[in-house]
Amino acid sequence: ASEINEDELILATTTSLNDSGLLDDLAPIFESETGVSVKIISVGTGAALRMGAEGDADVLLTHAPDAERALVENGDVSSRTLVAYNDFVIVGPPDDPAGIAGMRDVAAALRQIAVHGASGAAGAAAFASRGDDSGTHKKEIALWDAAGLAPSFETDDWYEEVGQGMSATLTVANQRGAYTLTDRGTYLALSTDIAELVPLVEGDARLLNFYSVMEVDSGKGRINSEAAAAFRDFLLRGDIQAMIGDYLRAEYGRSLFIPAGGETESAVAERARAE
């Protein structure tokens, strides 16, 4: 029973990516081409990476570059390749009590939220953090770091840790009239139900969100490396990259994911800064 099951590929991915529905479109194509069935397991970023480290998945698709690099260094995964990217946005109540609307410098915007929150002024807005070690949460921490701050729910009344997925966090922020950091995909999907939140800060290169595919190292046990490699190649293929770029574009009026198959993060960042 310890043979490799050649017929199935376990893909561990993050909830926010799975919630976009993109993979539900791509997987059947791969399946019909290769005859390998793809089991898309959507979990928290941490759990997805952990599944890779334990050899409980064949291939990973996540958006937490620093944590991913750690896996590469550990030898848990044999490859890590950029597939696509999009961006994060700081959203908040339309009346914007901290006055950050339109700012380009995300670090400055965050500092302003902190100052405003700490002032304790009447009607002061809070910041709702994912607080779940997801890719988005890690990005948020990095941004606070860039702002020279490290807020915590224990010391800062205005800082709330929701500890749930993106849509739940957006719902909480919506109810509480709080600011939060969200990936654009989830925000767009939910935008009709979270009328109390509008995009306030976007466009900073530091807000880029990179999705990478990783093949789990074949030394981890019964890894279907062959299918994993095939899936990686599949994602990078031109026609598939084009599909990724077109996904839901008609609906939202802009690309949800911008294809970047095989590129490096710095190159993408460079290009974005240039735009």
Binding site: D19, S20, I40, S167, D193
Partner: protein
Amino acid sequence: MELIWDGIREAARLWWAGDAQIIEITLRTLAISSAATALALVVGIPLGAVLALRRFWGRGLLVASVNTGMGMPPVVIGLLVALVLWRSGPLGGLDQIYTPTAMVIAQLLLSLPMVVGFSLASIQSINPRLIGQMWAMGANRWQVLWLLIRETRLGLLAAVMAGFGGAISEVGASLQVGGNLAGETRVLTTAMVLETGRGNFEVAIALGVVLVVLAFAVNLILTAVQQRRFIT
């Protein structure tokens, strides 16, 4: 609040249109939860009877464990089953993770304590002399069990309904061990979570409506059985 109405309308629409996917998901839900409940009954009722009727060392602890089992969070059970069935786990070689079988196992573990606990309580509340009479009539072990089930069907059916209700409404464990794979392990609750995450609240509510209607239908039948022969 209109969300709910939208959801109900959506549920009616989906069902009316004979939406293949929702029918498939509903049938799968029913199959998995029924299987889990049936297994829980087959294992749980005799276990409850033994705990009710026999006195042995460690019985008290066992009873407390069963009762604790009723408070076992689905996520814990899901995690434990996953740890066992994952590739890296002791039974990983069976390749049963992310299959309906894994979901049946998790739901079984969830509803078993409920069935054992309530069988125990129901059987214990039978007049012990009546149980003596059953033996005296020449019943063997299995016949006594059958008669006990007959006598306590009121309580046992409540247990069945609680067990089935627990199984069908559970989501944490099903997600963890089933993986919510479309066409394979997606059931009503996991589909609801997915749709909620996707912001399709109407669809989520529609699925919830289907689930509630399903549970209601099953329980209506069971309640009719339960209350049928009850006489003032």
